[in-house]
Amino acid sequence: MEEMAASQENDSEMDCSDNEDCYDYNDYYNDEDSDVEHIDLLKIDPEYFEYKCLSEEEIERLLNETVEDLSNRLRISLSLAKVLLHSHYWNSNEVIVKYEENPQQTLISSRIDPPVPPRNIIFTPTHMTCPVCVTLHHVDRFFYLSCAHMFCKDCWTMHFEVQVNQGISTAISCMARDCVVLAPEDFVLKHLQHKTSIREKYQHFTFQDYVKSHPELRFCPGPNCSVIVHSNEIKAKRVVCDQCKTIFCFRCGCDYHAPTDCQVIKKWLTKCADDSETANYISAHTKDCPKCHICIEKNGGCNHMQCYNCKHDFCWMCLGDWKSHGSEYYECSRYRENPNIAHESVHAQAREALKKYLHYYERWENHSKSLKLEEQTLGKLRARINEKVMSGLGTWIDWQYLFTAANLLAKCRYTLQYTYPFAYYMDAGPRKELFEYQQAQLEAEIENLSWKIERAETTDRGDLENQMDIAEKRRTTLLKDFLDV
């Protein structure tokens, strides 16, 4: 299912890259065109995000262009430009403003120059002793950074080798005691000229440091994936890797989490990890049928349950009659706070807090499990379709709409899952009420869709497609109103 979801994502991503193709930074008119289009797209799709999946070579080119541009504008060396950019999170404008205001202070704060200028170096002797290897060398063999601490060539090489082997690259400093001056890239590379493997390691580490310090770049978190995502918008939006299809948040690099923001999801996940024991204990995997009390194990993703024994329809979440969920007001996603809690004892308040957390946690966990179970449903579906195609009942293309439906269901349920941490940390009030209303609406439609997909062969295609449309509309409406990036 993930594969399918990704390929669908890919289609929409291709739309944006088409759009990006006409986006030319140097062309004023196109630029404006694209701006108009951009606003329109955001109106239709609140998750719309312009980004590019690039290779290491492409990123290197991009970084080099930034470096060259700054070097030309400030008339400084490339190496210096690179250090300045790295220490300012690759914000050229900030470097330019600071440098033009006070070049000396900028160089000191970027650890390019020492806080106190060194005394003039006077080469009187022809030979001197290197303080590191305590060997007498000709002055020709001595090199130094802006701090004028002199060391012989071999010692610099050894120093860089040891540091690189410890994983240090952009933060290698001078060898003198208490000296904070950093060794710029060209200085390091010059001394690693004959050490090919160390040189490569160094370049690999510096590149990693550059990408990590650049807010517009993000390494794809997929295993063994070398893709780097670039976007001019530094926002918590969804990225799908072109190569490995991993879906993640551009800003934090973790699993995509709309409508919850990066800080809140981090807080939520830490909380869940801390409290998981209790929560797991309480939310067991099986429940009894509320009517005939037979034990039921949930084996599908849909929360609309039908007891195989007594055929009673009920909701897995609240164990209420499904009838009150379907047509009328679906409210089992809403947590009802005890209005008199302020007057209760500390103990009761703690219990209430745990109850509240469990309410959201159970739903969060339940949708996560449903996502996995629906993946299995899709596998079974695929097998059944295969059988049908083999026995001449239509072609693969005829049944394709079922996969599209399953992908849409996954996408909707994923968003639904991430609405629970959002609601948990929301302050009570009319906005939360609106949110929970929309969440309930979305949840109801998702369960309808899941129910229909599980019974796909007996569901009318038109009916299913209509349900898909409704569910996706609910999802985008919620995101439009609450996705705040």
Partner: protein, 199 residues
């Protein structure tokens, strides 16, 4: 690389031997083996500190990548100090970690350690028990540190009360060092130390 290490140690060894600190008996350096990979250092407890009068022996191991990496140093003499483990002698000092610079020498290390004995940094502790005592009861800390200096580093005897308490525990069959650690950790409260030892 090992070549530079040996070369440097040879040179530093001479430097320390000739230094004015050695002349004042403040620091000492001895070779343990012939290939300059292990040395024995010694520092005198600085005046006006609880360590005054004591001599503290250090184990110095020189890594192959010396001087590009710092030497590994720990106290062999048992010592009561917030930045030094009272159990292992491990030291928490920035220049022995990330603040090391290749231009530093064993002499600078020994002098820095001596400076650490005069100015502890309880907010960056190696030994949590000692650090807490230092912050909560400085006089008790000084008494304990002086007692340890007397017991392990050859410092002058100052408080016979401490010795008496240790003797009481030894008479009960407790090993002397263990008794000292227990009493030191409980601010020389004999009752609580006993309780801890027999629980």
């Amino acid at each position: 690389m090992a070549n530079i290490a040996a070369q440097r140690i040879k040179r530093e060894f001479k430097e320390v031997i000739k230094s004015e600190e050695v002349a004042k008996c403040a620091i000492k350096l001895e070779l343990v083996d012939n290939n300059y990979t292990e040395l024995k250092g010694e520092i005198a407890g600085p005046p006006d500190t609880p360590y005054e009068g004591g001599n503290f022996v250090l184990e110095i191991k020189v890594p192959e990548t010396y001087p590009f990496n710092p030497p590994k140093v720990r106290f062999i003499t048992k010592i009561w100090h917030p930045n030094i483990s009272s159990v292992t002698g491990a030291i928490c000092l920035d220049i022995l970690k990330d603040q090391w610079a290749a231009a530093m020498t064993l002499r600078t290390v020994l002098l820095s350690l001596q400076a650490l004995l005069s100015a502890a940094e309880p907010d960056d502790p190696q030994d949590a028990v000692v650090a807490r005592q230092y912050k909560e009861n400085l006089d008790m800390f000084k008494l304990t540190a002086r007692h340890w200096t007397n017991a392990y580093a050859g410092g002058p005897s100052v408080n016979s009360e401490c010795d008496d308490k240790i003797k009481r525990l030894v008479d009960m069959g407790i090993e002397e060092h263990q008794a000292r650690v227990a009493l030191s950790s409980y601010n020389w409260d004999l009752e609580r130390a006993t309780e801890q030892l027999f629980s």
